[in-house]
């Protein structure tokens, strides 16, 4: 057994688990944060995407012990207020989901993408960077629309703040 200490959504948490426990299972089963999903379990689908130390990663392919000491953000921690994060709001507005299973990973991926590109996102980049996230309902069109719309809104927010 190993001891794992993480900062999850701003809160420090500790727990015991087996060395082989995957980060996604630690988050879901030990911490009860079930917004992060397990889809394919083979590092392909991206339903389990979270942010670790500010970067998007697939939590089904990282051991909880590997992550110990890092800071993690899950879909539950995206918005500190009661309202939706702009990316979540854009997915709702543009109907960027159908069954919703891939959505937490899609949203976490989109937030990472928007953060990294600092407003300079075009459709081709969004499509290229959605490579690691699979949706079997919508066909991506509305997801791309939602990401671009959230990006524009967040960019406007950034400019207004400057």
């Amino acid at each position: 057994m190993a001891k794992v200490t993480l900062t999850v959504n701003g809160r420090t948490v500790s727990g015991e688990c087996e060395e082989r426990t995957l980060l996604v299972h630690f988050i879901r089963d030990k911490l009860g944060l079930t917004g992060t999903h397990v889809g394919c379990d083979t590092t392909q689908c991206g339903a389990c995407v979270i942010h670790m130390d500010g970067k998007s990663v697939k939590s089904c392919s990282i051991l909880a012990v590997q992550a110990s000491g890092s800071s993690v953000t899950t879909i539950e921690g995206l918005s500190s207020q009661r309202e939706l994060h702009p990316v979540q709001a854009a997915f709702k507005e543009h109907h960027g989901l159908q069954c919703g299973f891939c959505t937490p990973g899609m949203v976490m991926t989109a937030v990472d993408m928007i953060n990294r590109h600092g407003g300079k996102l075009d459709e081709a980049t969004v499509r290229h960077e959605l490579e690691g996230n699979i949706c079997r309902c919508t066909g991506y069109h509305n997801i791309v629309k939602a990401v671009l719309s959230a990006n524009a809104e967040m960019q406007a927010g950034r400019q207004a703040a400057e």
Partner: protein, 265 residues
């Protein structure tokens, strides 16, 4: 996944020592290959020695045209390095097309070359650049390092600590990605220097990554996309699998070589 032990090393010496204490242990870098194979129970190391927290294994240093990349440097960092892009954009573009953003945030150059997957991209870059692979005990030329499908010259317990190369005059990479996995069905890296041209091919060869002397000679004589048209790529040396047969891959190698030269400019 079978049960395993976990050890976090904070220096190269400590990692080598830890690995030495566990015969059936493995180094763990980004885990984007190893954890995935352990989940499928295709690998069952008794212990993992995590290299991700060893500061000496991180980062890219550029000194004039000399480059050194630490083994635990993730693909995203290579893709995004402006210092590297200024002298050798081909390797940044290559790193930016490995897997997806999440894989690039975790997966590392050291893990990729130590694994030497025949369809991986970095081995072609290392061979094409004529890079030197640095380990905890010696320096090896890329020509000596890669030794067939998933095989390298690494000895038991030997660790890759980094790679180093001199930026060439021109370089380019083109890959035809498997539409499902995005690994290379054929990927060709070309590099031109004052003393010659190197052409390295990933994804296509039956024995893993290889250099193609016919295309090297053709491009040394005339650096142009059309120069590779006359070079012969033998379909019998190519991999045949459910994704593509040898003839198809042989043709793809020439098409990718052309595109790589165009990308190199």
């Amino acid at each position: 996944m079978y049960a395993t032990g976990y050890h976090r090393a904070s220096s190269v010496e400590e990692a080598v020592k830890l690995k030495g204490q566990h015969d059936e242990g493995r180094y763990l870098s980004g885990g984007m290959t190893l954890i995935a194979t352990m989940k499928q129970r295709l690998a069952a190391p008794t212990d993992l020695v995590d290299l991700r927290h060893i500061a000496d294994l991180h980062g890219i240093s550029v000194d004039g045209r000399n480059v050194r990349i630490g083994a635990a440097t993730p693909h995203a960092e290579v893709a995004g390095s402006s210092a590297l892009r200024a002298i050798c954009p081909a390797i940044c573009d290559l790193a930016g097309k490995i897997g997806d953003p999440h894989v690039r945030h975790m997966g590392t150059i050291g893990g990729s070359i130590a694994n030497n997957d025949p369809a991986a991209d970095y081995p072609a870059a290392m061979l094409g650049l004529g890079a030197t692979i640095i380990t905890d005990r010696r320096w090896l030329s890329a020509d000596d390092f890669f030794a067939g499908l998933f095989e390298t010259a690494l000895e038991e317990g030997e660790m890759v600590t980094g790679v180093t190369f001199e930026a060439p005059e021109k370089a380019g990479y083109a890959k035809f990605a498997n539409p499902a996995s995005r690994y290379a069905l054929a990927g060709v890296f070309v590099a031109r220097r004052a003393d010659g041209v190197r052409v390295a091919v990933a994804g296509a060869g039956a024995d893993g990554v290889f250099r193609h002397s016919g295309m090297e000679e053709a491009l040394a004589a005339s650096w142009s996309p059309d120069a590779v048209a006359g070079a012969a790529v033998d379909a019998r040396d190519m991999l045949t699998d459910m994704h593509a047969n040898g003839e198809y891959r042989a043709n793809l190698v020439k098409v990718m070589a052309k595109r790589a030269v165009i990308a190199a400019g």
